[in-house]
Subunit: 625 residues, 2 copies
């Protein structure tokens, strides 16, 4: 790699500024904070979804494509014979200026070509189900300029998995409606679906396209769509095949004139009985209401202002001033921002996670919680309850749950025996931050079964006992499918090349595979659990738990210590893993970290720093158990 | 559509000749006749797999991409500043001549540019696990010409489904070895897999690439790979990310000189104990043996000749001479060819079937059998046994089975109640063609369970009885999930937008949904079954079956006839479907066809034509039951 600079941090604006579109890989941002999310790269590639990247994919994206990151929300500006995009891609026409600013839940791309400046602000307004794209075209020259503008979005047929697989079906289902400047994606809405999407612009249009093949052509790529190259929209109406949404607008700009075009990509759900206003004519009321919220520059600027203030508030809660710019930047801006993104997505969607193979992780969401609980305690509280609701009565867990349904899913396998401890970890972190012990009294079901509700405190107890009830021959915790190291699958012996390590049968029956990492995690979270029991007056339970923790400490000392370091595990046959006796893999970090003390004391974590932890939100006060 | 001609039939050569690469959609051919298969478009797009398009995908393909059909086996010829492909794509450099000939299990593409002719013959030799690509470069000018030649294949990471989904994993697994002129794709071979692939050329190479990103670049497409555009291979060695195989050869051609380059794309399986010859060094013995079979023009021409003779034999068995060229062409060449392709793939892979969502159909394979049984009776016999082996003891069926494992799979749902009848249909068709009653004595298991074997005749009986035992209120067959019309799902009521019609719960409990199509099919195949019983001396069973068929005929007459036509079905609630009483969907073709007589009498099907049915293979004689 060269020492080439691709960009820099702008701490004042809390932005990362990319000045060369040819980054070594797409550099992406996440838009959206509640239900509607978008991934956007520095060249405007990416996609949008509602709540669930698998089951409610709104726009289509092709992972691992050639070229990489080929597909997104594209604006084509045709200026005579020159066609260019504000984000450089997909045309890759050389620009006179390019800049992409990834900010807090927004991305702003600005570029110039032949005296025309194009700025696009992308963001998902708070409490909205849409992505707003404010395109500003400015004529910086002394001459009148006439441009042809094409927008472009490609619809996904809702389920991102089958969208890639079942073409016998997919190519027959696409449906759109076009009304005024709004293109509606109503595929499958006629039958089982009660939701549609739309793409609008706040100005009359001079044409449109909704059929991809007609717009792009068979032999061209996104870099040279037929309709754009010829400067002539086809006004195509998709029936099946691949529906898209492209607006066509003829733009005349006086010298110095600047003009905003506000595009809205939105999602709507209708009640079953309100789906249609006439045969085959969908009920557009909610779409029109959403569009009306952002149909002027003033309204968009106000919504953007509200988003900025939201982030100001979030990031103002916890601020350090260490004297080290880089540390301050990481702690005060980017790490907290990243934690919020993780809260929203739990790593289910990125440019490496396709949004298909997994949902929200039981372990992940609990451990990530530490990073955002101070920012959004109410939502952290709900998250804990959602997670706990997928737990089984014996304390065992689905390893994932689907964000749309909040139901556990076993696609990726269950029985990761560290999972239960993480519920204690997350709940304790929440209470320490908020002092809200009332969460322990919340009635939470098992496996989402109505009637099975018990107080959350009881979930913590079964979590604790899941370890106690699943000990191996050395009285250390059985590992189950795996622990923190998902790939340490000690009970899998498949020689079948078609089986994934995560879904192959887990030979736990008769297994002696034990995990020192879980042992350490159990001692850390067990001590937290004991302290919690004492705080809420459950002295007897604290006593009971203390004995188990003490026994675990003894077991670790007796059979988990190799003389110089902690073992990592015992395998299926009871042989040591992570021992100096091993020829390979002699030492692992996980067991050293978790066993080497009582683990991170969360409430002391920041004491050494000049931290400003704002308590203006009165419910926020750190509690030491 | 215009009247533009894209190509024509060449009956003498049994080829379809495409003369314009810009066909309205990719026009494809299928290579391979036993285990190794390739799909190839008229521009050399497509992919290869071993037996199973899902579980053993060898090269990567992106369905529904932009541009369409973007990816395949590509040769790049760099001639000074001009880069072109024999198949026009992906560079789309205008050619002086282009022709693609799709023949019987082979495709030959010939093109010319600036005095260089490039001909490529693609085929899968008989009894081989590889695709041979014979590239012939000819200098038709008076000057010495120096060319740079790059080959290109992109490896799929074996499982075509997860290859598109799990990048956290995929980008970390790719592994290759390069030895001489052979590039080995050994991803996951170290652990659970016992198979690898290779891509070779029969000449020393001047360079190579195995890492896609290095070869193509991030921002270019297949139409302009960095390495090719710069005329400089990178000799990249893939570790993870996307492994590819590209050879680089510097070619000098004297005036008039012609030179062959033979590329082989192959697949190898090794026994567990023979996987390696040294740590991390794979056992290449079988690959080298396969390459040696095709390392000269003479050997390749001989293998191609053998393939041609194979097809001559197959198509010589049944020939009509109707005086109508188009009918003869269809019956004598293309329909029989298509039937063989269907035998091989059962529609599991095409440019509309991604090869992922389905395997071989229980119904499909039985009904398709009629089309190829006269060509390959031994293989038809095996197919019937394979299919029957997936049947349940009560006669019910998986709707699909996976070609790699020959095990039934329920991914797409089961309980299509017409399925069992099709086993009778297929078996009877086989016996009529071959006179081989011994198939009825073959011991065939249920659901592949060892120990459950019964004679195939018993499978026919449970098939027959599956209808008898699943009658509805009108004594007509319950439809189950669906019948011949997969989409007529009368027992599905999901309002859940995430459920597919094929996997949603089928409310068969208490259902009154009956199918007239199955009723008709049952009468047709039931009568065949009765005749078969009589032929093998099972008079009592024939009597028993006759009563059930007679009762079905009565039921159809009584409750299936609408006065003017046959109903299609009764729905879940017992209401008529396909009746003049209905407001919509008053008549369906399926029930008219199957109920209107005793169905197609297979042994009379060709009697009106001057058909030449060669019986030189003595086992072939049409039998009337």
């Amino acid at each position: 790699m060269s020492n080439k600079k691709y960009g820099h941090f702008d701490d004042q604006s809390r932005e990362y500024v990319i000045t060369d579109p040819c980054t070594p890989w797409p550099w992406i941002n996440y838009l959206g904070n509640e239900d509607f999310f978008s991934l956007i790269s520095n060249t405007a590639g990416g996609y949008s979804f509602y709540k669930d990247a698998k089951f409610r994919r709104i726009t289509r994206y092709r992972y691992n494509n050639v070229p990489m990151d080929n597909g997104g929300r594209y604006f084509y500006i045709k200026d005579g014979d020159t066609v260019w995009n504000p984000g450089w891609k997909p045309c890759k026409t050389p620009l006179d200026f390019y800049e992409c600013r990834h900010g807090m839940s927004y991305t702003r791309i600005t570029s110039r070509k032949d005296g025309i400046e194009a700025g696009v602000l992308f963001f998902v307004p708070l409490k909205s189900w849409c992505e707003v794209q404010k395109l500003t075209l400015t004529n910086t020259t002394d001459a009148v300029r006439r441009l042809q503008l094409f927008s472009f979005e490609e619809w996904c047929l809702w389920n991102a998995a089958t969208d890639m697989e079942n073409f016998q079906r997919n190519f027959s289902t696409g449906e759109v409606e076009i009304e005024g400047s709004v293109i509606y994606h109503k595929t499958e809405y006629r039958e089982r679906r009660n939701h549609y999407a739309f793409y609008s612009v706040n100005t009359p249009i001079d044409g449109y396209d909704t059929d991809r093949e007609t717009f792009v052509g068979l032999y061209n790529g996104f870099d040279a769509p037929d309709a754009v190259m010829e400067g002539r929209p086809r006004n195509s109406h998709a029936h099946g095949w691949s529906p898209i949404a492209s607006h066509y607008i003829e733009v005349e700009l006086q010298p110095g004139e600047s003009r905003d075009f506000i595009f809205v990509l939105g999602y709507v759900e209708n009640a079953q009985e309100e789906k249609f206003i006439a045969p085959q004519v969908i009920n557009k009321e909610k779409a029109k209401a959403a569009i009306a919220l952002y149909d002027t520059t003033e309204k968009v600027d106000a919504a953007f202002q509200a988003l900025n203030e939201y982030w100001d508030r979030l990031l103002d809660i916890y601020v350090v001033d260490t004297g080290n710019d880089k540390l301050d930047r990481m702690v005060n801006i980017w790490n907290q921002y990243q934690c919020m993104v993780t809260f929203n997505m739990s790593r289910s969607a990125s440019f490496f996670e396709s949004g298909i193979g997994r949902g929200m992780g039981f372990r992940d969401s609990n451990q990530d919680l530490v990073g955002f609980v101070h920012q959004i305690p109410e939502r952290a509280r709900q998250r804990i309850i959602d997670i706990a609701s997928t737990q089984f009565p014996d304390g065992g867990c689905y390893h994932q749950y689907q964000p749309l349904t909040k139901r556990g899913n076993n696609d990726i396998g269950g029985g990761f025996n560290d999972d239960p401890c993480w519920l204690i970890f997350g709940t304790v972190a929440y209470i320490k931050e908020t002092g809200d012990f009332s969460i322990l009294d919340e009635l939470v079901p098992f496996d989402n079964q109505p009637g099975s509700e018990v107080p959350l405190m009881e979930h913590l107890r079964v979590s604790f006992d899941h370890v106690v009830n699943n000990l191996g021959p050395h009285c250390l915790p059985l590992i189950g499918r795996a622990d923190w190291n998902d790939c340490l699958n000690l009970n899998c012996f498949s020689w079948d090349p078609n089986e994934s390590f995560q879904t192959t049968e887990n030979k736990t029956e008769g297994s002696k595979a034990e995990s020192l990492m879980i042992a350490g995690l159990f001692v850390v979270t067990g001590n937290e659990y004991i302290a919690l029991c004492r705080r809420v007056g459950e002295e007897e339970e604290a006593e009971r738990a203390s004995k188990h923790v003490a026994e675990m400490v003894e077991a670790v000392k007796r059979d988990g210590w190799d003389g110089e370091w902690y073992l990592r595990a015992y395998d299926y046959y009871g042989r040591k893993i992570g021992s100096k006796e091993n020829e390979e893999a002699q030492i692992f970090i996980e067991s050293q970290g978790w066993c080497s003390g009582e683990g991170p004391r969360l409430c002391e974590g920041t004491s050494g720093m000049r931290a400003r932890h704002r308590t203006q939100q009165s419910r926020l006060h750190q509690v030491c158990l």
